[in-house]
């Protein structure tokens, strides 16, 4: 019995895999069989780990020779296991942490709002179910001829449902349902329901008005309790210590957000509610404006200031000029904004396409062109070229451009996105400073001039980061990457594992040399042929071989070592390898068959049963 069961399992698993290869209906059986092996191997790891610990502990307790190595082995094992398994030092994953939102627990069954539209869910003959992203939320009432969705539908759910079946009527129904299954207008983009996390969520601080609007949506006790918890959670204030000199010049909390404040007396920076990522970034860039292209006059002013602060060589001036020219230009910005002003192809909605079909169209294009061509007029271009971030914010720039001519929303977005990607003036000065340093030394004053703003920016960014962390409630502490840069696991990998494995692999070079000296003897004809081939390949794989036979004329180019190398590899080596591979493949097939048919049972031991 002890050997019979494994034999049966072996045979069953093996024949399942073979059958699954030929019979499509059984394909999934083969995949399941393969997955079971992975599960067993994973469980067996626990056996192996336990065995490892037991053996080494025994060596330590018996103080056998080399027991110190066992101590090191066990210490390394436990440290690596701990820091890797518990993701020590790994920050939560940005994409999974829902920064800027607070959660309140609310199960799907307790979510009181359900939205319905007329329609049916088209069946799938292949048996494919509705997408997992809407699991439990979408139901059909065949009798009433309606489809209902519980919760507020998210865009990815809409896409999944539309891709479920490419029928215009179904897709139009889904779109209608999506439009209905949204929070009321004042709460759009702020209130969410994450069914997978069983959580009602709110982005930012919930105002009184928003609180009452949410409460009025339903009267169930679970709903009201969740809304109350959410209101309380989003109105908590986080604060950090922040000395006044860390604040940027012209710091104005109200200009950023009504939820941000600074207590000058206690020197504390406060934020009410969760801080969105976008706000965090705006807090830094608001007071450290984007660097605008350095005009020749501005460049000269900078050079003069540097010269006042210390000596400046010609090489440094040239380096400064070169580095300043590497930044963005107004022409690029104008081109980007004009590009955004081109009519753009956007996908039509399913309802639009269904309307076309019902009107009798036989060719339905899925894309449409929207927008009329808009380019910046001369006034706008001139205004843009005069943009100085030290005197004008980006909002002022947009306002000014609007006053001088038409500007579409896409163009505004493109302009903001372009400027957001550019370095701040402080970062630009830092790069210029490094360019100067590469060309020559700088005095302390000159360094302060070039790096001073950047130091302030870094310092301010650190405080903003601390405030962001304080204002955030961690939801999924273990969602981070175990090998994130800077974590203990990463250190172990970079500075212990990588060098050690590379060292072991590198030892091969030394062993090959000693094997070559000891074992490669021309004892018979075959050995001589082998050695000759080895010489050709060794030379042909380096420049030496190419050099040795480069004098051969073109008509004899086939005798050049690099050509000989290619021929040897392509003909002789390939033929030999094919023969060995064919033999091995047949051996594998035969051995596998013997194992499956239980003809060969020696791997289970040589016992009698």
């Amino acid at each position: 019995m002890k050997r019979t069961v494994p034999l049966i399992i072996t045979a069953a698993g093996g024949f399942t895999l073979i059958v699954a290869f030929f019979i499509p209906a059984t394909e999934s059986w083969g995949e399941v069989a393969a997955i079971w092996f992975d599960i067993l191997a994973a469980i067996a790891f626990i056996l192996g780990g336990g065995n490892l610990v037991r053996n080494h502990l025994k060596k330590i307790s018996d103080q056998t020779a080399g027991w110190a190595y066992s101590v090191i082995t066990l210490a390394a094992f436990f440290i690596t296991l701990t820091v890797g398994l518990f993701k020590v030092g790994a920050r939560p994953m940005e994409q999974q942490e829902y920064y800027g939102q607070r959660f309140a627990s609310l199960s799907l069954e307790d979510f009181p709002l359900e939205f319905s539209v007329e329609g049916t869910i088209p069946p799938k003959k292949s048996g494919r179910r509705l997408p997992d992203s809407v699991h439990g939320q979408l139901v059909a009432d065949a009798a009433a001829g309606t489809i209902s969705f519980r919760g507020w539908m998210e865009p990815n759910q809409l896409d999944d449902l539309k891709n479920y079946k490419h029928l215009l009527e179904w897709q139009a129904t889904v779109e209608t349902l999506y439009d209905k299954a949204q929070p009321p207008e004042p709460l759009r983009g702020k209130a969410f329901y994450h069914a997978g996390h069983r959580a009602l969520a709110f982005a930012g601080r919930m105002s009184e008005f928003e609180y009452h609007t949410l409460r009025e949506l339903a009267g169930t006790p679970e709903w009201l309790a969740a809304v109350d918890a959410l209101y309380e959670a989003t109105n908590q204030t986080a604060e950090i210590e922040c000395p006044a000199d860390a604040l940027p010049e012209r710091f104005d909390a109200a200009a950023i957000s009504p939820d941000l404040s600074y207590d000058e007396e206690l020197q504390r920076l406060r934020f009410t509610g969760p801080m969105p990522l976008g706000l965090r970034d705006r807090m830094v860039r608001r007071f450290f404006p984007v660097a605008t292209p350095l005009s020749p006059a501005a460049e000269q002013v900078l050079v003069n200031l540097l010269k006042q602060a210390g000596p400046l060589s010609e090489a440094q001036i040239e380096a400064l000029s070169k580095a300043a020219a590497a930044g963005w230009t107004f022409d690029q910005l104008i081109a980007e904004v004009n590009r955004a002003g081109e009519p753009v192809q956007v996908p039509k909605t399913a309802r639009e396409m269904l309307a076309e079909k019902q009107a009798g169209a036989t060719v339905i294009e899925p894309m449409k062109t929207v927008g009329e061509k808009r380019t910046l007029n001369n006034l706008q271009q001139k205004f843009l070229r005069e943009f100085d971030s030290s005197e004008m914010t980006v909002d002022d720039l947009v306002e000014g451009l609007r006053r001088m001519g038409p500007l579409s929303a896409r163009q505004v977005a493109a302009l903001r996105a372009f400027l957001a990607k550019q370095p701040t003036a402080a970062e630009r000065n830092k790069e210029l400073g490094f360019a100067l340093l590469r060309a020559g030394p700088l005095t302390e004053e000159q360094r302060d001039l070039m790096f001073g703003d950047y130091r302030k920016q870094i310092r301010w960014r650190r405080y903003v980061g601390r405030l962001f962390a304080a204002a955030h409630v961690v939801k999924f502490p273990w969602s981070g990457e175990y090998r994130a840069v800077g974590t203990p696991f990463w250190w172990l990998y970079e500075y212990a594992f990588k060098p050690l494995t590379a060292t072991m692999f590198a030892m091969l070079a030394f062993y090959v040399a000693s094997a070559a000296f000891r074992a490669f003897r021309a004892k018979n004809l075959e050995a001589v042929l082998l050695l000759g081939t080895a010489f050709i390949i060794l030379l042909g794989r380096t420049f030496a071989g190419v050099y040795l036979t480069s004098w051969l004329p073109e008509s004899l180019s086939f005798l050049r070592i690099e050509e000989l190398t290619i021929r040897i590899m392509q003909w002789f080596n390939t033929a030999g390898n094919r023969a060995i591979m064919i033999g091995i493949a047949l051996g594998i097939a035969s051995t596998s068959l013997k194992v499956l048919l239980a003809v060969d049972r020696s791997y289970l031991g040589t016992g009698g049963d």
């Binding site: 992975d38 994409q95 896409d159 692999f505 000296f517 000891r518």
Partner: protein, 285 residues
């Protein structure tokens, strides 16, 4: 004397090898490199794709083989970035994702900061299962890869739109140190589905992959020599001959040449000793 040399302590040989590798590195010996047809075929496979093509880069190697395969991986990423291809990274080895992160840091974040994660390149990470992974993703990639390496749902990644399986890619580039590797990609992707696959592998593996050239594997980079040839093609094409970090393969060919010369010398020396000993024994009374 003959006896002494015949029984030479192998540590002297190790020392010779150490010097053979160290001196070229320290003195920065570099030699010209002439690309072979196989390297050119790999280069053409990437170069001839129209910009914006979808390329799957499977990095199936570990730090131990980084010496041989790191430079070619760098050259592949550089070439794809220069051509403007969309890069999709995966790994079938557990430490493959670290190799991918290294290359992203070394190439993309350094010289292509304008490339946006999720739009121009994405790291789908490691999946266990060896060739089983290939067998599944050639028909249904989303069955195994539901998120990227950072846990983002792939439906939310713009460049994953329309990608349902490996057959949706224009090219698969595999850098392989063993099993699973290029052989498995050829067996389970290139052969049954005609998916174009090119690859780079360690020197020891290269002879095993020659039978697949050129039908299933149009081109192959073998070891550091192949990496150096491919690097030469890329840096010449894109005028990057003065960027040191893209010349690592060429740099490592210096020690390779000296080491090969040493090997030849050792083989010859060993045979001279062998024949001398045989003659001695024949004439001994």
């Amino acid at each position: 004397m003959l006896e002494y040399v015949a029984r030479l302590d192998r540590r002297w040989i190790f020392l010779m090898m150490l010097l053979a590798v160290a001196i070229p590195i320290l003195f920065q010996l570099r030699f010209p490199e002439t690309p072979t047809p196989l390297a050119k075929a790999v280069f053409d496979a990437v170069e001839n794709l129209p910009p914006g093509s979808k390329v799957l880069l499977a990095f199936d190697y570990d730090p131990a083989s980084e010496g041989e395969l790191g430079p070619m991986a760098t050259a592949f990423v550089l070439h794809c970035a220069k051509k403007g291809h969309k890069m999709y990274f995966i790994a079938l080895w557990p430490v493959g994702p670290q190799m991918i992160d290294d290359q992203i840091r070394k190439v993309i974040k350094t010289d292509f900061p304008n490339l946006v994660y999720g739009e121009d390149y994405v790291n789908l990470g490691f999946k266990p299962g060896n060739e089983g992974v290939i067998k599944v993703i050639v028909t249904d990639l989303r069955q195994l890869y539901t998120t990227d390496d950072k846990g983002v749902n792939i439906d939310k990644i713009p460049m994953m739109q329309g990608i349902r399986s490996v057959q949706d890619f224009d090219l698969v580039i595999n850098v392989s140190a063993g099993y699973p590797g290029t052989k498995e990609w050829v067996q389970y992707a290139a052969t049954p589905y005609g998916i174009p696959v090119v690859g780079g592998c360690t020197g020891v593996q290269a002879p095993l992959l020659y039978p697949y050239i050129p039908d299933q594997l149009p081109g192959l980079l073998g070891a550091i020599k192949g990496a150096a040839e491919y690097e030469k093609l890329v840096v010449d094409r894109y005028d990057l001959a003065d960027v040191g970090r893209y010349l690592e393969g060429l740099r490592r060919m210096g020690p390779q040449l000296v080491a090969h010369m040493l090997m030849i010398f050792l083989i010859i020396a060993g045979n001279v000793i062998y024949f001398a000993q045989r003659r001695q024994e024949r004439y001994r009374p």
